[in-house]
Every structure is written in structure tokens, then in C-alpha cells.
């Protein structure tokens, strides 16, 4: 039996061994060619590794899409201070479930990527910040790290190169905001996970006040394949500006939800109709959130025109984010779902910046009032005004993430809101 669902449209590079628990074993991983890329990378200078990654055009998979090689090149070359590589495995964006799968099916792939990344940025210590809820995942990863230490792939003098790299698995304690890179660093240091003001950027002052780079799990998992096969090889997939493959986490009203690794630029409608077996029960498509709950909702018409890469999503007024495609069919109560998302952000706001702390709570109250049929048309305008003032006025982008679903849903599904405020009518309610 294959991993929940697979499709022949997929290009499985990092997800090749999903569903095969033997892959967790170090012997199996090495037998299948694992740690060869690390050996190759250690034979190269750090700058050569960075250049290879730059050539590949790999863009950070955590949501922002910043080129990884460029990010690495910001790290200072002088090593008088310790450097840290931090892997962001605090996956908590609603709709995203790729990092947990990457770690628990193929932990050594991540460890190898971390070691290559550490070599590239001249770091001696890697912290893998796992989400606190991921007990099983953390155990699998921690076991894999121990195995790698025992065989000398991690630790002192790796492959006789004279390089020492340590890997520590760190577990969080339940806070969405710790997925923001500076919030994560604060949390790693034993503080409240409140994001820091930038600049200084992490490459100058990061974890423990030292130069640091933070990369997403998926980014680091891709690194061994790029180093082994070269930057040009990676560019054969995807588009000119968004090269490579990406894991798409499809959830919601589709027949076959799951993780699918596809070249970037893949048409959204084919992902839903073909790869995922269509919308459930043969229902009509109503709306899609293509990048996790923080990006604007698009309607069925826009989703037919949407290509899944960083530029293609912007062209239809949304963002690729971390490619968490949430599909909603015609029975969906949009107001209820948006209310649920706003509740989430109100709960997870760290409380540092006033627009976010107050704005998310106000929005949540107004959304609840509207959902309960006690809202007015004025509430819709107030919601728009409040959320407009939440964009770009805070330290991190959690605040903007409240605005995205609220504004886009009011603009695109105003009828549904109006039906609720005028007559208390709800779509899809039993």
C-alpha cells in the first residue's frame, strides 16, 4: 500500500520514501545513498556550497519564499563568534502538515540537510526547533540524531574533515507565533516567543545573540538533493522564477487529501481535479485558500486561473505561502470558517503590538456577532477598517494574517455576510 495517496503527476524527490518506515533507520538511509551529499559538501568550501544552492534558485519553503542561497550568503565569513543554524520545525500554520511528515518518515534527510547547511554558514551547532505537540515526531528525530552520532555522521571530526557539528533537538511548548523566526529564537533562548524588531537581522544578531540562519524543514530536506545533483538539475523542475518541486498539503473537501510533491507552477485546478480526485461528493468548488490560513481566499473562478508558484498566486491576488491548499466546496459556511480562523489569530497573538492584540480580539468579537445573526451591515465596514489598520503596522506579520481572510472573504463572499446580517440566513447550515 502506498502512502495515503500518491499520484503519477508527482515528482517525488524529498517525499520519495513517505510511507516506508524502514527509511527511518540509518542503515537503510545510507544503503539508499544517504549522507553521500554530506561527504561531497564537506569536500567543498562553504562558499562553493552556497553557490550551488544559489544556482539551484531554491526559495525558502517556510512561506516567504526568500532565496536560500542568498540568505546563507548574508552570514559573516569571520568565525570569531559561534554561528548557529536553526531549523524551523514549529509547523503550526492551519492547513500545513508537511514538516511533520518529512521528519517522521525521513529524519536522516533533514539531519543531512542541516549538516550541509551548517557547513555552508560555518556553524558548529544546529538546533532543530520542533513543535511541542510533535511528541512522536520529536522522538523519531531524536532517535535518528542519536544513531547519527553513534556512527560519526554528527559530532566531532565528521568524515575526517576536521569539522565539528552538533545537532540538538529542541521541543517548543505550544505557541503559533514561535514559527516566526525571531519569535522562535526568543523561545529557543528560554523567553516568551515574542518576535523581535528587525534589524538587526538574524544573520548579524540571531539565536543567543550570535549570527544565525533559520531555515524551514522542507528547505533543508531539499539541500542534500541539490548538492548531490547540482543546481542545474534542480532547475529542470518548476518555473524560471520558482524552480524546483514543492510539497503541496491539500486538505478540506477533496476526495484524496494529503501531501503531493509537484513542480512549482502546477495549475491549482489540476491539483484539485486530477491529483486529489476532485471535490468530495461531486460538489461544486466554492473557494480555495492556496497557502495556509494567512493568505487571502480565492473563489472558484480565480482558482481556475491560478498557477501554484510564488508569482502565479500573486497574480490572482493571493500568496503561495507554504502551499497549504485548503479546498472548500459549495456547502461551506464561509463566515463560520473565517470566524474560526480569526479566533485562532486572536488566541495566538503574542500581545506585543497594539494593532494586533486589540484588532484581532475586536475582529473575533465582530465575526462572532455576525455569525450569530446579530451583526449589522455597518459591522462589515468596521471590520474592513479595523483590519486595514492591522496591515504593516506591527513587528511581525501575524496581524496581516488576520486581515487576509477577513478582507478577502468580505470582498468575495459579501452576499453570504449580507444574508446573515439581514436575515440570519446561513449557507450550508443543517
Amino acid at each position: 500500500m502506498a502512502y495515503p495517496y500518491v499520484s503519477d503527476r508527482e515528482v517525488r524527490i524529498i517525499s520519495k520514501h513517505f510511507g516506508d518506515p524502514t527509511q527511518r533507520r540509518l542503515e537503510t538511509y545510507v544503503e539508499r545513498g544517504g549522507y553521500a551529499a554530506l561527504r561531497k559538501a564537506l569536500g567543498m568550501s562553504p562558499d562553493e556550497v552556497v553557490d550551488t544552492v544559489k544556482e539551484s534558485g531554491l526559495r525558502g519553503r517556510g512561506g516567504a519564499g526568500f532565496p536560500t542561497g542568498v540568505k546563507w550568503s548574508f552570514m559573516p565569513k569571520d568565525t570569531s563568534k559561534p554561528h548557529y543554524l536553526v531549523c524551523n520545525a514549529d509547523e503550526s500554520e492551519p492547513g500545513t502538515f508537511k514538516d511533520r511528515e518529512l521528519i517522521r518518515w525521513d529524519p536522516h534527510q533533514l539531519i543531512e540537510g542541516c549538516l550541509i547547511g551548517a557547513h555552508a554558514i560555518r556553524a558548529q551547532h544546529v538546533y532543530i526547533y520542533c513543535r511541542g505537540e510533535f511528541f512522536e515526531t520529536t522522538q523519531v528525530l531524536a532517535r535518528a540524531v542519536e544513531d547519527a552520532y553513534a556512527k560519526g555522521y554528527v559530532g566531532k571530526d565528521i568524515f575526517g574533515s576536521g569539522l565539528d557539528i552538533d545537532v540538538t533537538v529542541h521541543a517548543g511548548a505550544g505557541a503559533y507565533i514561535c514559527g516566526e523566526e525571531t519569535g522562535l529564537m526568543n523561545s529557543l533562548e528560554g523567553r516568551r516567543g515574542q518576535p523581535r524588531v528587525k534589524p538587526p537581522f538574524p544573520a548579524a544578531v540571531g539565536a543567543f545573540g550570535m549570527p544565525s540562519t533559520i531555515n524551514n524543514v522542507e528547505t533543508l530536506c531539499t539541500i542534500p538533493h541539490i548538492v548531490a545533483n547540482g543546481g542545474d538539475w534542480y532547475r529542470q523542475y518548476g518555473t524560471e522564477k520558482s524552480p524546483g518541486t514543492k510539497l503541496f498539503c491539500v486538505s478540506g473537501h477533496v476526495n484524496k487529501p494529503g501531501n503531493y510533491e509537484l513542480p512549482l507552477g502546477f495549475p491549482l485546478i489540476e491539483l484539485i481535479e486530477d491529483v486529489c480526485g476532485g471535490v468530495r461528493d461531486g460538489n461544486a468548488l466554492k473557494a480555495v485558500i492556496p497557502g495556509g490560513s494567512s493568505v487571502p481566499i480565492i473563489n472558484a473562478e480565480e482558482s481556475r486561473a491560478c498557477a501554484l508558484d510564488y508569482e502565479g498566486c500573486v497574480a490572482v491576488g493571493t500568496m503561495l505561502g507554504c502551499a497549504s491548499v485548503i479546498v472548500m466546496d459549495e456547502t461551506t459556511d464561509i463566515v463560520k470558517q473565517v470566524r474560526r480562523m480569526v479566533d485562532f489569530y486572536a488566541h495566538e497573538s503574542c500581545g506585543q503590538c497594539t494593532p494586533c492584540r486589540e484588532g484581532s480580539a475586536w475582529s473575533a468579537k465582530m465575526m462572532k456577532r455576525i455569525e450569530d445573526g446579530r451583526g449589522t451591515e455597518e459591522d462589515l465596514d468596521t471590520l474592513m477598517q479595523v483590519t486595514q489598520k492591522m496591515v504593516g503596522t506591527t513587528i511581525c506579520v501575524l496581524s496581516d494574517s488576520v486581515a487576509a481572510p477577513v478582507q478577502s472573504s468580505i470582498n468575495k463572499f459579501r452576499d453570504e455576510y449580507l444574508a446573515l446580517v439581514r436575515r440570519g440566513e446561513r449557507v450550508g447550515a443543517a
Binding site: S92, G95, F135, G193, Q337
Partner: protein, 218 residues
């Protein structure tokens, strides 16, 4: 190994689809209903099962726990960074993070008690009050919600006879709503103590509860 009556694609050993047992995947010391040593030593923080508070006046970390605490300290360049793992360890030991536990952790790490409380209350996973032996966290965020998470939550509340956030009279179950657990493709996702239960439907809820009661913890 227990026969878990529901499908869970990633949980090796439970479905019979995988050739590794749970034991092989996670190591000897992770198996068992109440692993005293709390899981694999390289995990910086684990909370396999809630243990009841036995003696609040005892030293916070002793024996195996002291060893794990010392190992945690070696991993970070600053003592403060051990705070989150230390609180997790305290919670594993006592079932929740009491004000007294926070004070002890503060002493151990040379931090002020106020600072430790400030941090502990920021994070949702530290229970600030005792919870049931099984903490049932039902994800009701968007992806699970689209696929009927509200019904699963209602089923858990009905079958345990509790209110949201309350502990059942027999002390077995506390049911709460959780934010996205990163199992969106396998809705509804429910976390019970350290374990994920995926693809949960309301009809499976009684089976899961019976399974938990049969674990010896119930």
C-alpha cells in the same frame, strides 16, 4: 502491542501496514503505558503520559529526571535556554506546572520566579492546573472543521460526560479544543496526551475512549 481500532497512516505498528513495530521505530524505552524514564534520552523534552503529583515537597528532579535535566543543560550556551525543556520535564513528573514547580525551576536555572511564570503562562502546553489522566485535544481549526471536527468534539464531550475544559468526575478525561495540530490531511486530528489520533470520526470516539481506559492509566 495493543490493537488500536482506528486508522492512522503515520503511526507505525498500529495498522499492520508497516513492517516495523512501534518498539523498533521508537526504541525500547518509549514503549509501555507509563514510561518512567520519559522517552528517549536525546529528546530535549517529552511528556509521554501525565504522572500524578505524589509529593509536592520532594525535590523536583531526582534520579533519572535529574540526569535528564543535567543533560538538557549541556545542550545550550545559556542556562536560560533550558527553561522550556525543564518546565516540560516538571510537567511530565507532576502532571501540571504548579506555582511551586515554577519556583523550583527558577531556583535551578538562576531565574526569578516572576520571569518563569511569565514564560510558562505564554505557552499553552504547560497545564497551569491539574488535568485528567487523558488530555483530549480536538483540533477544530479550519481543515478539520471543514470535515466535521465540531461533531467529533461534541462526541468526546458526550461520551466522557464533561464540559469543555472540565475534567470528568472519574478524573480520566479532560476535553479541550486545540488549534491546528498539523494533521490537516487526516481530519479530524485529535491529540491525546502525547499521541496523535488521525481520521477520527464521531463513531470512533467510544472505541478510542475504551482503548484509553484499557491502557491501565484509566
Amino acid at each position: 502491542m495493543s490493537d488500536v481500532p482506528f486508522k492512522n497512516p503515520g503511526w507505525a505498528g498500529n495498522t499492520g501496514d508497516f513492517d516495523l513495530t512501534e518498539k523498533e521505530v521508537r526504541g525500547e524505552d518509549f514503549v509501555g503505558d507509563r514510561p518512567k524514564h520519559g522517552g528517549h534520552p536525546s529528546g530535549s523534552a517529552t511528556m509521554p503520559y501525565m504522572l500524578p503529583e505524589t509529593n509536592p515537597d520532594a525535590r523536583l528532579f531526582e534520579g533519572e529526571y535529574q540526569e535528564r535535566f543535567e543533560k538538557i543543560l549541556t545542550r545550550y550556551p545559556s542556562k536560560r535556554a533550558a527553561l522550556l525543556p525543564a518546565l516540560a520535564l516538571a510537567q511530565e513528573l507532576r502532571g501540571y506546572v504548579s506555582p511551586e514547580s515554577m519556583d523550583r525551576v527558577a531556583e535551578l536555572l538562576d531565574l526569578s520566579p516572576a520571569y518563569v511564570r511569565g514564560v510558562a503562562t505564554f505557552y499553552t502546553m504547560y497545564n497551569k492546573a491539574p488535568v485528567g489522566r487523558h488530555l483530549v485535544q480536538v483540533c477544530t481549526n479550519i481543515s478539520c472543521n471543514l470535515c466535521g471536527a465540531d461533531d467529533v468534539l461534541t462526541a468526546f464531550l458526550e461520551h466522557t460526560g464533561t464540559e469543555l475544559g472540565e475534567t470528568s468526575r472519574d478524573g480520566n478525561f479532560t476535553v479541550i479544543e486545540a488549534e491546528c495540530l498539523a494533521g490537516c490531511g487526516f481530519p479530524t486530528c485529535v491529540q491525546i496526551n502525547s499521541q496523535y489520533f488521525e481520521n477520527v470520526t464521531p463513531t470512533e470516539v467510544p472505541k478510542i475512549l475504551a482503548h484509553l481506559k484499557g491502557q491501565g492509566n484509566g
